[in-house]
Amino acid sequence: MIQIRQKFVQRSDPLIVLAPILAILLALVIGGILLLLLGRDPILAYRAMWEGAIGNPFENPTSLANTFTRAIPLMLVATGICVAFRGGVINIGSEGQLFVGALAVVALSASVGDSLPALVYVPLSLVVGFAGGAFWGFIPGFLRARFSVNEILCTIMMNQIAIQLLNIMLSGPLRDPSANVTQSARLPEAVWLGRMLPPTRLHTGIFAALIATVVTWLLLWRTPIGYRIRAVGQNREASRYAGISVPVYIILALTLSGGLAGLGGAAELTGVSRRMVSGFAAGFGFSGIVVAIFGRLHPLGAIPSALLFSAMVTGAERMQRTVQVHYETIIAIQGIVVLFAVSSSMWVQRRAARRLAIDVGMSPSDDEPESGAGDIRPAEA
């Protein structure tokens, strides 16, 4: 009974919805103050950002299309991070998993060439990308489950290893011999994801991303496997007593998480760049963490959240050209958003607990809220 009331009190609290929006606004205000201190006009900067991210879609859809294009890998990476989080593990390694997923696709096309029809080639490349990322996520998952290696640190190291792996591949086996710069050969046309709105680069990968997000949501909340992943994430001890093999589901959570990031890499590769270049998709992994947290660690929340952050990053590029503020300013703003989001989520929950306590006449500490949709703290190791 108290549980139901508690959910009700939490849901009816307008702050649940308002807190993330306030976090963004506050971060933008702080960013604006910073710009002002540095002698740049924040209004001009943010207007440039708006133009670059959205503009006037009825006259010229380019800006909006760019925002949607960039949202595709972000959505997939963030969905993957949700899976890991729900399983009680933190995956900081999306960046590396995304690289390895894309690398696997390049390797595939290097060995298969253009001998396959698009109808087979495109799905195959997405599967291979998923597998590549899943492999890169499996390693830290296995080390976590078998040797209790801290998965945060391990996934960070795996990122750095993937970057070097990418460089090795680009300067060696997968290098385009005809080019002077380090890049792979152009992928065969049969593996490309189609573009929907030329001359913009918006590609059909957006459907893959939306489907993957919804499937992940169904998997986590409508299947026994998802139930067990979440059970392990909530309470490892209790799950063990309930007969769930905790190590298996920890590995599974990180593997799926990596797979989704790898899928993001494959989509970005076959839809946008269509060849591997050094510096490919850099920054998507870390932005994906921000997107996932902002989407309240729910796969469906990742969709609007990815669009929002994609707009911020896409807009930041225009901002850099217009007011000469470095593009990385947006990374600082993202950092502030993360700090606000994690702080406010705890605070809102405590507030809900207090309100509930007053409601049923208990002292607040007697009844802490269970981890629910708003909780972004994984279970303890």
Binding site: M157, M158, Q164, I330, I331, A332, S343, S365
Partner: protein, 318 residues
């Protein structure tokens, strides 16, 4: 290569390994304080970047030209400020520590890059700390050049190892840090102000991460570059696990990782070949991270030294 010159080269490479162990030492020792108090501060990477930028900006004649010591101080102050932010988010707001650390890292990276481009147009050089020969000791063969002909920040880092060990084992404050990290409820019952102790430990950790950042441009590279730490801060956090939260083992880890970072030089000096081929640079660059993972696997025995309350915010009545 004859005997004499090989020895010289080995000594030079060892001396270089000593210098580049310095940022690891500062940041990892700082992280020991923070983690022992129960706060897993993953923001070290970002704090180091801000510390590095602010220190060289204050010190360089292309910036404020206030001298090297003022630069070091600036690095420490900005580090302390970011440590304060981390403490506020993780202790007062009780947010998840791993994620807060990522937030701090993003903030630090974005901030240092933005300021670097806006304030310094993307170029900052400095005349760094020069080596100081310690009389008599520096005349010793081999060890003299490795240990006693370094710049002041290297001496400082080495000195911090016994100081940290002493602080943590022999002072009331150090014991309080360990108590609030192991069992905050018991410490609270004994009248220790858990929040205050954690704040002090995290801010000190931030200060030392800022110092680590300052040491890079001021005593190692002479320049600032965008994202110049390149994951070094994360390795420092891993090293604390590897070192089982003991300053002496952390020092050992720092030297090990510093050697791994300078693998390129060592491989050249010792003329190591793989199947008769020169080893590709990227594989050497990969090694510190591979080593970090291997070390984390084998250091799992160290988990028994893990502060029991790490990652757990404390509030009364739980």
């Amino acid at each position: 290569m004859d005997e004499r010159t090989l020895l010289d080269v080995l000594v030079a490479a060892s001396a270089l390994t000593m210098v580049s162990a310095m940022p690891f030492l500062y940041s990892a020792l700082g992280e020991v304080f923070s983690q022992l108090s129960g706060v897993f501060n993953l923001g070290v990477e970002g704090i180091m970047l801000v510390g590095a930028f602010s220190s060289i900006y204050v010190a360089s004649d292309m910036g404020l030209d206030a001298g090297l010591l003022a630069g070091v101080l600036a690095g420490m102050v900005t580090g302390a400020l970011l440590g304060l932010v981390m403490a506020f988010v993780s202790v007062t707001m009780q947010a998840d520590q791993g994620i807060s650390g990522i937030g701090i890292t993003l903030l630090g990276r974005g901030l240092s890059t933005t300021l670097f481009i806006l304030l310094a147009d993307g170029v900052l050089l400095v005349e760094s700390f020069q080596p100081i020969r310690i009389p008599l000791l520096s005349d010793l063969p081999v060890v003299g050049d490795i240990l006693f002909n370094q710049n002041i920040m290297v001496y400082g880092a080495l000195l911090l190892v016994p100081v940290t060990a002493w602080l943590l084992r022999r002072t009331t404050w150090g014991l309080q840090i360990r108590a609030v990290g192991q069992n905050p409820a018991a410490a609270d019952a004994m009248g220790v102000n858990v929040e205050q102790v954690r704040y002090s430990a995290v801010v000190l950790g931030g200060t030392m991460a800022g110092l680590a950042g300052a040491s890079m441009p001021l005593a190692l590279t002479n320049v600032f570059q965008v994202n110049m730490t390149a994951g070094l801060g994360f390795i420092a956090v891993a090293m604390v696990y590897f070192g089982g939260w003991s300053p002496w083992r952390v020092m050992f880890g720092s030297l090990l990782f510093s050697a791994a970072y300078n693998l390129q030089i060592w491989v050249q000096v010792l003329d190591v070949k793989l199947f008769g081929e020169t080893i590709p640079v990227n594989i050497l660059l990969m090694m510190p991270y591979v080593l970090a993972i291997i070390v984390l696997v084998f250091a799992r025995d160290m988990q028994r030294f893990r502060p029991q309350a790490m990652n757990r915010p404390f509030r009364r009545g739980d």
